[in-house]
């Protein structure tokens, strides 16, 4: 493998320096991969220039300071913007959510909770009732109770849900089609070196923010965490355009995007450290230590801004802060591990079902009617969700209710049975004590809610509105966990003389906290579907503040990951990347096959020969015909057709831009002018037109491997250096080329998947 150093001889460097750089050379086409090595070299060159000039004058010194600190400035601005936008989204989503059930007459901009904030008519049993908040039935029909008002409330709920969903999908379709979906698979691909123009632009940012609120308010089974990461990355991208250090260099821009995604998760969950770990584990491709510090800073700034907006009067970033500190017992590890198994199984099932549904949407006529699909899904969700009080409420509130343990101050339906059990202090050994009917109806409703959410999330993730996956998965896990928790609690109460319970539980029911089971279940399900490990545990314990519960969380998350991996190695985001055919070379997969480079390289046996350029033999016309007849992204340059010795590599886009520029700026370039890549023009007859020098766009140090190099090493080189293509030589002569697309196709073939599904370069 040849790795030419950046410094050519000083004379050539000086002469190239005097030549004007051609505008547009070094940029990339849409849907192409960047060249990490070239970008990093460009950045080092820029840094060297700044350092040399620093000693010249005070102004240059100030400029060098500005250059060094611009990274921190970008990251701070990104954190501020992310925090502010997350506050806006939270406030607006809460208000619109409550708009489905009624209005606050005294102040139209308050949601239900805020409307009743100052009222003194709230009672202990019904904490939400106050005269200022009117449901739609009260406003329209004039009565609050009764079957007529129930039907009117039902109807208004469906009406609002449908109109929000319709508005959201229309806005996405008309203004910014890239704003749909979660965004995390595409951001992962972008961070690994892919270009999608417009994906992180201003319109996408605005439409994603506005339609996220509408989508969440319409009651669809989705969350806002993934889209918040997309919003934060858009902010990072937009701010990086203010600084040429980041706007002109794609590799540096991706450092800012890594920090921005950490800020996004931090405001979504109120978990700055979890956000940094999420960025490290899930989203980023290259994560140098400098990015670690900057990501942490961005996450902290964003969390601080969100906290200082403090819209809801409780100084908490997220709803789920739990404050109990009851201990857990060793025998409870068994139900926790069972919850982990459930999480892994559900994760594997969800990934398979969702990918199958998305594939059907992609390839058949289903996908032709996105607006109709969104309306249909929203209608079904609203119609089925209204009767069940657990699905009618906001999913975040449901999770909070499930996480909260039953204490003397709680009055939710889930705690009705507790009073029965605690009321009789001296328990009799009466096995015929009937369970309070309250708990049975709550369990039934929870089971129905679980089934409903499992089914609807499969169809909701991937709709053409911004949709996230974290909150629905956590809700499913929390419901399952709570059911298991109540079951174990009942078991401990009615069989308190079993060995297990007698050892640890002294009083009947107080040793089991079902809220903890809900928390563990939520973590298990989220781990099963995304296959996160460390970042998930840190996020959950930052969310809940329960530092004592790290061991149960880790046990459940590890179990769910192992069970999920038994069914398929990919998480949901990698599965979507593979579905779309993005050129993402996964750093976590091992390549273990024994193929050699010459079996993967192009041209293959039956292909036309490699399209090469000779260093001083071609005319402009011949060069243009080579470019027009083929569709390759780059061409190796060789000394001559006889010797086939390698000189360098030239990119298609650079060649076309250079030729256009030369025809405009330089005189005398005709179609039969000679094109040369060498330092000095070849000797030509006297009457030939002026030759064209294209040495400045030639990459003189392309990476090469020999044809006997094992593919394991080649894949490793591509992964570690971020290459786009690599030339294959045999005995010093050029033989073929391996591109990233070839490697991905080869890996797909080895894994018995369809190699034609890799679509992009």
């Amino acid at each position: 493998m040849s790795n030419g150093g950046g410094a050519a001889s000083s004379t050539t460097h000086l002469l190239d320096f005097l030549e004007e750089p051609i505008p547009g050379v070094g940029t990339y086409d849409d849907f192409h991969t960047i060249d990490w090595v070239r970008e990093k070299c460009k950045d080092r060159e820029r840094h060297r220039k700044v350092r040399i000039k620093k000693k010249e004058s005070a102004w240059e010194f100030t400029k060098s300071l500005y250059d060094a600190w611009s990274g921190w400035l970008v990251v701070t601005l990104t954190g501020l913007a992310s925090g502010a936008l997350a506050g806006l989204i939270d406030i607006a989503a809460d208000w619109m959510n409550d708009l489905k059930e009624g209005v606050c007459l005294s102040a139209m901009w308050f949601n239900h909770e805020q409307c009743c904030w100052t009222s003194n008519e709230t009672t202990f049993a019904e904490r939400d009732k106050c005269p200022q908040w009117k449901s739609w039935a009260e406003l329209i029909l004039g009565q609050a109770e009764g079957p007529g008002s129930y039907i009117m409330n039902y109807f208004m709920y469906i009406y609002w849900a449908l109109s929000f969903a319709f508005l959201a999908v229309c806005l996405v379709k008309v203004f910014a089609p890239y704003a749909c979906g979660s965004g995390i698979p595409e951001i992962k691909t972008i961070l690994s070196g892919f270009i999608i123009r417009g994906y992180l632009g201003k319109w996408t940012l605005m439409i994603k923010t506005i339609t996220l609120v509408l989508a969440v308010a319409s009651g669809l089974s989705l969350g806002k965490e993934g889209p918040l990461v997309h919003v934060a990355c858009c902010c990072g991208n937009i701010f990086s355009y203010l600084f040429p250090k980041y706007s002109k260099n794609e590799a540096k821009k991706r450092e800012v995007l890594s920090a921005a995604s950490a800020a996004g998760v931090s405001v979504a969950f109120g978990a700055p450290i979890g956000g940094v770990l999420f960025s490290l584990e899930e989203v980023s491709y290259y994560f140098p230590l400098k990015t670690l510090w900057r990501s942490f800073f961005a996450a902290l700034v964003a969390a601080f801004v969100l906290r200082s907006i403090n819209p809801f009067g409780n100084s908490r970033l997220v709803l789920f802060y739990v404050e109990y500190h009851t201990p857990w017992y060793l025998f409870e590890l068994i139900p926790f591990i069972l919850l982990g198994v459930f999480g892994g199984l559900w994760g594997a099932f969800f990934i398979r079902a969702n990918i199958a549904w998305c594939r059907r949407r992609k390839s058949t006529r289903f996908g032709k009617y996105p607006v109709l699909e969104v309306i249909l899904v929203a209608a079904i969700t609203a119609v089925v969700a209204f009767p069940n009080p657990y699905t009618r409420q906001n999913t975040s509130e449901l999770i909070k209710e499930l996480f909260t343990d039953c204490g003397p101050l709680e009055t939710s339906q889930l705690c009705k049975y507790r009073s029965q059990m605690n009321g009789s202090k001296a328990f009799t050994d009466d096995p015929n004590q009937p369970a309070e009917p309250g708990v049975y109806s709550a369990m039934w409703q929870l089971c129905l809610a679980l089934i409903f959410k499992i089914i609807m999330t499969i169809f909701t993730f991937g709709l053409k509105v911004p949709s996230g996956l974290f909150i629905p998965s956590m809700a499913i896990g929390a419901i399952a966990g709570r059911i298991v928790g109540i079951a174990v609690e009942q078991l401990a109460y009615y069989h308190h003389d079993w060995f297990l319970f007698k050892e640890w539980c002294e009083v009947g029911a107080d040793c089991i906290t079902p809220g903890l089971y809900a928390m563990v279940g939520a973590a298990a399900c989220l781990g099963g579907v995304t296959r996160m490990t460390v970042s998930l545990v840190v996020i959950v314990f930052e969310l809940t503040g329960g530092l004592e519960y790290i061991v149960p969380l880790m046990a459940a998350v590890m179990t769910s990951k192992w069970v999920g991996d038994a069914f398929g190695r990919e998480g949901i985001y990698e599965a979507h990347i593979r579905l779309n055919g993005y050129p993402f070379l996964d750093a976590k997969e091992e390549f273990t096959h024994t193929t050699l480079a010459r079996e993967v390289m192009r041209p293959r046996r039956n292909d036309p020969p490699l399209a090469v350029l000779t260093q001083d033999d071609l005319t402009v016309e011949e060069l243009q015909s080579v470019i027009n007849e083929t569709s390759y992204n780059g061409f190796p340059v060789i000394v001559s057709k006889e010797s086939q010795r390698l000189v360098g590599f030239a990119l298609r886009r650079d060649i076309t831009i250079a030729i256009e520029n030369a025809r405009r700026k330089q005189e005398g370039i005709l179609l039969n002018s000679r094109v040369y890549f060498t330092q000095h023009a070849p000797s030509l007859p006297a009457d030939s037109p002026r030759p064209l020098k294209l040495r400045s766009i030639l990459d003189m140090s392309p990476f090469t491997v020999t044809d006997h190099t094992p593919m394991e090493i080649v894949v490793d080189i591509f992964r570690k250096l971020g290459l786009r293509q690599c030339l294959v030589t045999h005995n010093g002569r050029l033989l073929g080329i391996i591109t990233k697309k070839d490697i991905l196709r080869h890996m797909a073939q080895m894994a018995n998947q369809d190699p034609e599904s890799i679509m992009f370069n």
Binding site: T27, F124, P177, Y178, G462
Partner: protein, 178 residues
């Protein structure tokens, strides 16, 4: 001076509505559970100051207050109001623009220019099939100097072409974001 005092008072009142001390007291010996709210400051936020009238007397007050939980909460209703109004106005503007783009503009164009122009403007060429045209675009971006209105029109046309490309990739060909 009286006016300024009145204004001052209303200002203070608006702010004091945003703080509260909320005490939740569970049922105790036959007395029902109750929630008490008052606008007191942080140092007065405890059971003795907020629970009025006290439902138990004398010796039971301490036992009752031990079971109560008091929390001091502060919100900012101004932020909420500002955010909601700003959000609704941006949403309204976008809706108007959307109605204009989808319904009004084709109608206006058809009336002014006739049918032929409409067909022409929908023709677009994908960049890669004409590499030299693409290069032309890259270089010409730095050379044109139109006046203000032309610039806005030009930018809008470019934006709409981009959105159309995006719409094709996402909705029609399903290559991105399935």
């Amino acid at each position: 001076m009286i006016k300024s005092i009145i204004v001052d008072n209303t200002h203070v009142m608006a702010n004091s509505e945003d703080v509260r001390c909320k005490c939740i007291c569970p049922p105790y010996r036959g007395i029902e559970g109750h929630i008490y709210k008052q606008n007191v400051s942080l140092k007065d936020c405890n059971c003795l100051h907020v629970v009025e009238p006290m439902p138990v007397d004398g010796k039971d007050v301490e036992a009752y207050c031990l079971r109560c939980e008091c929390k001091y909460e502060e919100r900012s209703s101004g932020t909420i109001k500002f955010t909601i109004i700003m959000y609704l106005s941006i949403l309204g503007l976008l809706l108007l623009y959307m109605v204009y783009l989808t319904l009004l503009e084709p109608m206006l164009k058809r009336r002014l220019f006739g049918h032929s122009q409409l067909i022409q403007s929908d023709d677009d060429v994908v960049g890669d099939q004409q590499p030299f045209a693409n290069a032309h675009n890259v270089l010409s971006r730095s050379h044109s100097r139109p006046n203000m209105l032309n610039k806005v029109e030009h930018a809008q046309q470019r934006w709409r072409r981009q959105v159309q490309e995006q719409r094709k990739s996402v909705f029609d060909r399903h290559v991105v974001l399935s």
